[in-house]
């Protein structure tokens, strides 16, 4: 029986033609806006966190507490040093410690000067292996650095091409912080723009040209047994606190799995995304009010019909069901159209952004639970918007209604 009420409801919607459409446009614009903004937000998130080259789950990232925003180690209160490194290496369960430095240097070629990020290859071979394993460095021309190289650099893909007037070729010399280095390799174009614009050089050289003494920006710790990573983390924390004479709650460092460090970024991006989606959500609210308006008008127009139905045995609940079905249907159709439009917009925007900002990969994932939720949500919105009009319809006195 309920099904027939629903088919009656859909007939009514069809018969009101343009007005049903105008009402649904409101809903689908609102849903499209929210869906597209949230999807684009997620795409942006994947692009940004993708930059932080996800490391495997068997590695921990060790940094000192930062006071500001910037690449790891840049705003650290104390720099990590050899003492820290040696201490960590000795901890049970730690396999290899990879020392990382991330700085900025002046880069000159063909009399053109610019500033670029530079990072180190660790001194020890097994650290180098871990690093190469963790960060997928793929060589396009030439070769990667090894533990014996001095005075040589590998450049990110952005350095190919003639931004410097002349193309930089293998074997050529570039001037970094005033010293000459030979270019022995170029990386393939990666999806992270930090990799594309980076200079990789041997650690000893980097320390020399920037006069870096005993400090590291971060340490990557590879554990022996992936399943014991939690325990190793705890042990490390205790050892460092002991060493630095800190009490609980006074930690001036952080040991995170790569996942956790990405989460921090995500939290910030999430809040931004929510605020923006919230503003978009206001349009949904407005659309819902539109449904209420349409339903009230519908009740007015169909007073007589409601009277007839009551005279042939319709209960109040039947009338309410009928009107709720109508408003929910309006919500549903609007919602489905909105989801489709919203996704299309998001895909289009992501495509445009990816090609315009080469190097950033805006992936829009089809998050089905979310999409289904969006569609269902609009049904609910439709339903709720129709409640008051439906109740009003059911309260009509059949005699008066017939008189209309």
């Amino acid at each position: 029986m309920k099904l027939r009420l629903i088919s009656l409801a859909s007939k009514n919607i069809r018969n009101r033609g343009i007005r049903s459409w105008l009402t649904m446009i409101g809903i689908f614009i609102g849903i499209a806006a929210v869906v597209s903004l949230i999807s684009m937000g997620q795409g942006l998130q994947s692009a940004v966190t993708g930059q932080f080259a996800a490391l495997d789950p068997d590695k921990l990232v060790f940094t000192n507490t930062e006071t500001g925003f910037g690449p790891p180690g840049s705003t650290a209160v104390n720099k990590l040093n050899e003492h820290d490194r040696d201490l960590i290496e000795k901890v049970n369960g730690v396999d290899i410690v990879v020392e990382r430095l991330l700085r900025v240097v002046s880069f000159e070629y063909n009399d053109n000067v610019d500033f670029s990020y530079v990072t180190n290859i660790p001194e020890k071979k097994d650290s180098i292996d871990v690093m190469y394993d963790a960060i997928n460095l793929e060589i396009e021309k030439g070769r990667l650095l090894n533990e014996n190289d001095r005075g040589k650099v590998v450049l990110g893909n952005d350095f190919t091409g003639d931004d410097y007037g002349k193309e930089i070729r293998l074997g050529k010399k570039v001037i970094i912080q005033g010293k000459e280095f030979e270019v022995i390799g170029f990386l393939k174009k990666a999806s992270t723009f930090t990799l594309n614009g980076v200079i990789i050089m041997p650690e000893k050289d980097l320390r020399e040209i920037l006069d870096i003494k005993d400090e590291y920006d971060l340490l990557i710790i590879q554990v022996k047994d992936r399943d014991k990573i939690g325990k190793v983390k705890e042990t490390l924390e205790r050892k460092i606190m002991d060493d630095r004479n800190l009490r609980e709650g006074e930690e001036d460092f952080s040991i995170q799995t790569p996942q956790q460090s990405i989460e921090t970024v995500n939290t910030v991006l999430d809040s931004v995304n929510i605020v923006i989606a919230g503003i978009a959500g206001i349009s949904l609210l407005v659309g819902a009010i539109g449904i209420t308006n349409t339903m009230y008008t519908s009740v007015l127009e169909r007073k007589k019909e409601i009277g007839i139905m009551k005279s042939v045995g319709a209960k109040n609940s039947d009338i309410i069901t009928l009107f709720l079905a109508e408003s929910a249907l309006l919500g549903l159709i609007g919602g489905i159209i909105g989801v489709i439009i919203g996704l299309s917009l998001a895909f289009a925007a992501a495509g445009a952004a990816s090609s315009a900002l080469g190097g950033l990969d805006f992936k829009i994932s089809l998050n089905f639970p979310f999409l289904i939720f969006a569609a269902l949500f609009s049904v609910v919105i439709g339903g709720i918007s129709g409640v008051f009009p439906a109740i009003q319809a059911s309260k009509l006195n059949p005699v008066e209604a017939l008189r209309s």
């Binding site: 029986m1 027939r4 009420l5 009656l8 007939k11 009514n12 018969n15 007589k304 019909e305 009277g307 007839i308 139905m309 009551k310 005279s311 042939v312 045995g313 319709a314 209960k315 109040n316 609940s317 039947d318 006195n397 059949p398 005699v399 017939l402």
Partner: protein, 233 residues
Amino acid sequence: MPGKQRTLIQLKNVKKHYFMGDNMVKAVDGITLEIKEKEFVSIMGPSGSGKSTAMNLVGSLDIPTSGKIFLDGQDIALFTESELAQLRGRKIGFIFQSFNLIPNLTAKENVMIPMTFQDQSREFSEAKAEELLELVELGDRMEHFTNQLSGGQQQRVAIARALANDPDVILADEPTGNLDTKTGELVMDFLQKLNNEGKTIIMVTHDPELAKEHSDKIYWLKDGKIEKITKGK
């Protein structure tokens, strides 16, 4: 009117007053009547006599200001509106002067609606509707929309609809009011046939000839009260 008949509808000193602005209108001002099984009853009166209001009360479509109405022995004041609607849907079939079919539905769908509200299955409703439409000789117009039908055809659909739940009582409010003479006769013949088959018919009309021709009993209304009761044919 042979044998012992059950009382189907009873009104005891029923009054219906309502306000139009500051004035109180006594539409029905103390009516007592009894409708028994298998009767053909007419409620007569000039316009303003309260017969339409009376019909609404007899049909349990309206609640009295004072007095009691009994439908099948039960006091309708004790029912909730929903319960009353259900009961009414089973016991009484309405035929209105202006047909009151639901627009945008086909003839068949209109006839099926009362059964929908009594929770009948789709197969059952559809079969019954077709049967009823055949009965009123509209078998070939079942899928037509109401705005595609003539006045007479619409009224016949209304009759079919009124019969949908096999009610004990058919309430017809000026059933021939909007029809030409010939079609009107057809409709009245049909109502007569229903009465012969055992259905109770209550008809409201302003046409005394019509009333005398078909009814067993005629209630004459004036100013909201029963002026006299006469026998019909």
